[in-house]
């Protein structure tokens, strides 16, 4: 939409951005809120000035009353504009982490002062879709690691479009962007058997197709016959997973790549693959303590995080 305001551009933006809000939930306070007349406001203001001159000269009281009435409406509308933005609340931010290169979808829940006229939202490189109770922001990402949201500018011209009020909000929390995934990674490296830890007390030699039942394994995979016969909790694994004989330790050296970013991309791809195949995996990055092999969402998050911040 055409933002027909003369005010917030360049210098004005830089000046006012210093007072950006940083928290959540957030409601602009008076010092974070700026207001200026729009071009329309200036045009009508000048017209009113001339009307005032003419009507005062002839002391035509009706004309004077009309002029002052319109002037008052203009001024009251400025207060409304100010209040409209001040009553706008940003409540909650939800974002699922994404891999670098993907677009970050952010859902910002808000409480606009009313639903018939929603304040506008702008931000650098942002695609914005406003709804009654939330805003969807689409932000392209390029690098892994911490990402700071670009400052968002909330603008309102409610109710008459003669004044524009704006306020900046820049979230203080950073969002984590996972590393990019290599598109066609080589298959998982030769399995590196980890010496059995206390978690895996049984030898796996004679149970090639069965694994020790683990928390999270579906009940349908439990090998009930063996359970009945031997009292051991084991679970079956589909054909494709049979190759994996045990937990994997994915090491940076195994990628065979000199370039750090490429290596991290490959590791990321492997981790995701391993998680998909339910092969327990661990991670070892150069110069950092290794993460013991495991499976599950928490573990995956932990590994991806380690890679993102490496």
């Amino acid at each position: 939409m055409n933002l027909d305001s003369i005010a917030p551009s360049g210098r004005m933006d830089r000046l006012t951005m210093k007072r950006a809000g940083k928290t959540l939930p957030w409601q602009p306070d008076r010092r974070q809120l700026f207001i200026l007349p729009t071009r329309g406001g200036i045009i009508l203001g000048i017209a009113l000035l001339f009307m005032l001159l003419g009507s005062l000269n002839y002391n035509n009281n009706l004309a004077i009353a009309l002029t002052f009435f319109m002037t008052s409406c203009l001024l009251v509308s400025a207060i409304w504009t100010h209040r409209h933005l001040q009553d706008c609340r940003l409540l909650e931010l939800q974002a699922l982490p994404v891999h670098a290169g993907e677009s970050l979808k952010i859902r910002l829940f808000w409480q606009p002062p009313e639903t018939s006229y929603l304040p506008e939202i702008q931000g650098l490189n942002l695609q914005v879709a406003r709804h009654d109770n939330h805003i969807d922001l689409l932000l392209p990402t390029h690098h892994r690691g911490w990402l700071k949201l670009p400052p968002l500018k909330l603008t309102s011209r409610y109710p008459l479009g003669l004044f524009v009020a704006w306020s900046w909000w820049r979230y203080s929390r950073k969002l984590l962007i996972w590393p990019a995934v290599e598109i066609q990674p080589p298959p998982l490296p030769r399995l590196q058997t980890v010496p059995a830890k206390s978690n895996y007390p049984f030898s796996q030699g004679d149970l090639t197709e069965l694994q020790r039942w683990q928390a999270g394994d579906p009940m349908s995979r439990v090998a009930w016959k063996i359970l009945a016969r031997h009292g051991q909790w084991l679970s079956r694994h589909p054909e494709g997973e049979n190759e994996s004989h045990g937990p994997l330790l994915l090491r940076e050296e195994d990628t065979g790549l000199r370039d750090r970013e490429a290596a991290i991309s490959r590791l990321t791809a492997w981790i995701l693959e391993a998680e998909r195949l339910s092969i327990p995996y661990g991670l070892e990055l150069r110069g950092q303590p290794s993460i013991a092999p495991a499976l599950g969402e928490a573990h995956l998050t932990c590994c991806l995080e380690r890679l993102a911040l490496a």
Binding site: D4, G40, S55, L56, N61, F69, C73, P159
Partner: protein, 641 residues
């Protein structure tokens, strides 16, 4: 290229506002201009409905020029109010034909603003005020529609949801009133250009030729109202409202002149008549007063021949306290008056001249001659009619000896000429006669139709004597209206239309008195009466602006969280008495602490409990008692069970 505004409700509203702003102009614009304006407007409508494209830029320029030329050609004076508003209308309508961006709407709105202003300059009655207020609300709605940007919706649906506009307008009212009353007014106009020089608003002009007044007789517009006569209101047929004295006759028209200013004398107290005159605005430097004016608060000079001469060519609506002499006409024989009073054109009307000389000789004294002429008017077949026959080259000869049909100005002119021809100084006076009594407001309303002309004749020993030849011809002219009113009054019956008329006029009278005439002087006296205000209004305004933030603060103070304030009060007191108090803790923790560490801590704990009850408990708890005194424990706390 598709113009997005075609189906936008804002454009529909703009068209509606345009036609609404044009509508009242039918009262004063000529038919051709109106037709052209209407055509321009329908072009906009045709574009909206899809019948016509918008004019391209070149044809727009040509069209503007043609229409503007045609419209202005219809107007007598280019820069008058009528010409100006016609031109404004053309520009507004042309602007509405080139809507491309939001900015074009703003420009059109500026045009609408000035159209409204021109409506008010034409007519400042209360109903026009209401009409323009309606238009102004429409403009707010237009701005609202532009901002809401609901391009799809239909106009009625949009307007139904524009009710916040009314709320906004209501909130703007107090500020409007404050600005209206307090914004400094101009003591003197910055420029004196009369708004409309072609047609004085009251129609009385400083020139009188046969047939001039006829337009006025049909016009019921009020000119002024008078009330508060002291000691008593004279009979209506004695109310000669004096406006101008016409001294100079050129054979056809009488022209105005005035003598030097007179020193205001105090007439004998029992001879004066005091009254209040509330006038509408009009163009001209003359002011009305009851014959014979003695004193008053007009900002004008009072001349020797009883005229008020203002320095301005435009008289705003106003309220004035005036004094007139009832009988005593103290006018000295100024030499200029005697020479002007005998002035005649070198030739023309030979028949009248010789007749006058003959009759004067026959009757001897000027007074007898005057009596004879008046009798002549009465006895011979002179008729009073508002539709006289046209007069030829020698207007007076034609009237006296041929047509013998006319109204006040014919008679006044003929009498003055006859007197002058006989060597007796005479002059024509124009003004108003009588008026209509309004029992509601107990005032007299004088309308344009009450315009009148009469003669004054210089008689030795008596001075200037008012002679109304019309009364000699047709006393009923002077008395009909009065009799009608008398009849109504006597029979105690009043038809609905008279009643309604009086009601409306009374409303207009209040409007004039309380609204239209508010000006620099009234503002000053009001502010003065209000007390010891600073002398400079601008300072006063600044003080007001300073008060606005205070009001804002007060508003917020009113709305602030009372309970929270009380909690802060507790925190402050605790901190003062017991600096180590854990004031940052929650209320319950603080209450527990108070029980152990403060003397009378139980009472404080109960207070806190009560506070919590009010803040978080179900509604209906008793109000909070005052904060109990906070005292430190003198001795170490006894073990608490």
């Amino acid at each position: 290229m598709k113009n997005p505004w075609r189906n936008h409700p804002a454009y529909s509203l703009l068209l509606a506002l345009n036609i609404l702003a044009l509508l009242p102009q039918t009262f004063w614009l000529d038919p051709l201009t109106l037709l052209l304006l209407l055509l321009l407007w329908s072009w906009g409508l045709a574009w909206k409905t899809g019948y016509l494209p918008l004019p391209n830029p070149w044809s727009k320029v040509v069209l503007t020029l043609i229409v503007a030329a045609a419209v202005l050609g219809q107007q007598a004076v280019l820069l008058g109010l009528r010409g100006g508003s016609a031109l404004l209308a053309v520009m507004l309508l042309m602007k509405s034909l080139e809507i491309r961006t939001e900015r074009d709407f703003y420009s059109a709105m500026v045009g609408l603003f000035f159209m409204q202003l021109s409506l008010l300059f034409h007519n400042d009655s209360w109903w026009m005020g209401l009409y323009v207020l309606f238009l102004a609300l429409g403009m707010l709605a237009l701005l609202w529609l532009l901002t809401q940007n609901k391009a799809r919706d239909r106009l009625p649906d949009c307007l139904r949801h524009a009710s916040p506009i009314l709320r906004l307008a209501l909130q703007a009212l107090p500020l409007t009133v404050a600005l209206f009353l307090l914004f400094p007014r101009l003591a003197q106009p910055l420029w004196g250009l009369p708004l409309d020089s072609t047609q004085g608003k009251t129609g009385l002009s400083d020139k009188l030729s046969p047939g001039d007044l006829i337009e006025l007789f049909l016009d019921d517009t009020p000119v002024f109202r008078a009330s508060r006569f002291q000691p008593a209101m004279p009979p209506l047929d004695q109310l000669y409202w004096r406006a101008m004295v016409l001294w100079h006759f050129d054979g056809r028209a009488w022209k105005r002149g005035w003598l030097p200013a007179q020193a205001r004398q105090k007439p004998a107290k029992d001879d004066t008549l005091r009254y209040l005159l509330v006038n509408e605005a009009y163009a001209g430097n003359w002011l009305v007063s009851l014959d014979w004016p003695v004193d008053g608060d007009y900002q004008a000079q009072l001349t020797l021949d009883g005229q008020w001469i203002s320095r301005q060519q435009w008289q705003p609506a106003g309220e004035h306290q005036l004094i007139s002499a009832r009988t005593d006409r103290q006018e000295s024989a100024h030499p200029l008056a005697l020479s002007w009073g005998l002035q005649l054109p070198p030739a023309g009307n030979p028949q009248t001249r010789s007749w006058a000389r003959q009759q004067l000789k026959k009757h001897g004294s000027p007074a007898a001659f005057l009596r004879f002429v008046l009798n002549h008017f009465n006895r011979e077949n002179f008729y009073y009619s508002l539709t006289p026959q046209p007069l030829g080259e020698n207007t007076v000869d034609d009237f006296l000896f041929r047509t013998r049909i006319g109204y006040c100005e014919h008679y006044a002119s003929a009498l003055a000429f006859t007197m002058r021809a006989a060597g007796i100084p005479a002059r024509v006076v124009t003004g108003y006669l009588g008026g209509e009594y309004n029992p509601l407001g107990q005032y007299i309303v004088v309308r344009k139709s009450d315009a009148h002309a009469w003669t004054e004749v210089w008689l030795k020993g008596q001075g200037w004597v008012r002679v109304d030849p019309t009364a000699a011809v047709a006393p009923e002219r002077v008395q009909t209206a009065i009799r009608d009113q008398q009849a109504v009054h006597d029979q105690g019956m009043m038809t609905v239309d008279i009643w309604l008329k009086q009601q409306l006029d009374w409303l207009a009278y209040r409007w004039n008195r309380w609204f239209l005439q508010y000006n620099y002087d009234l503002q000053r006296s009001m502010l003065h009466n209000l007390g010891q205000w600073p002398r400079h209004l601008s300072l006063w305004m600044l003080a007001l602006l300073g008060l606005l933030p205070l009001g804002w603060w007060l508003y917020h103070w009113q709305k602030r969280d009372r309970l929270l304030q009380q909690w802060h009060q507790l925190q402050r007191q605790l901190k003062r008495v017991v600096p180590e108090a854990p004031v940052q803790q929650g209320p319950e923790a603080l209450a527990r602490w108070a029980r152990l560490h403060l003397q009378g801590g139980d009472e404080l704990a109960r207070w806190i409990q009560h506070w919590l009850q009010l803040r978080y408990g179900p509604a209906g708890s008793p109000p909070l008692p005052p904060l109990p005194p906070i005292r430190r424990c003198d001795k170490p706390p006894s073990s608490h069970a």
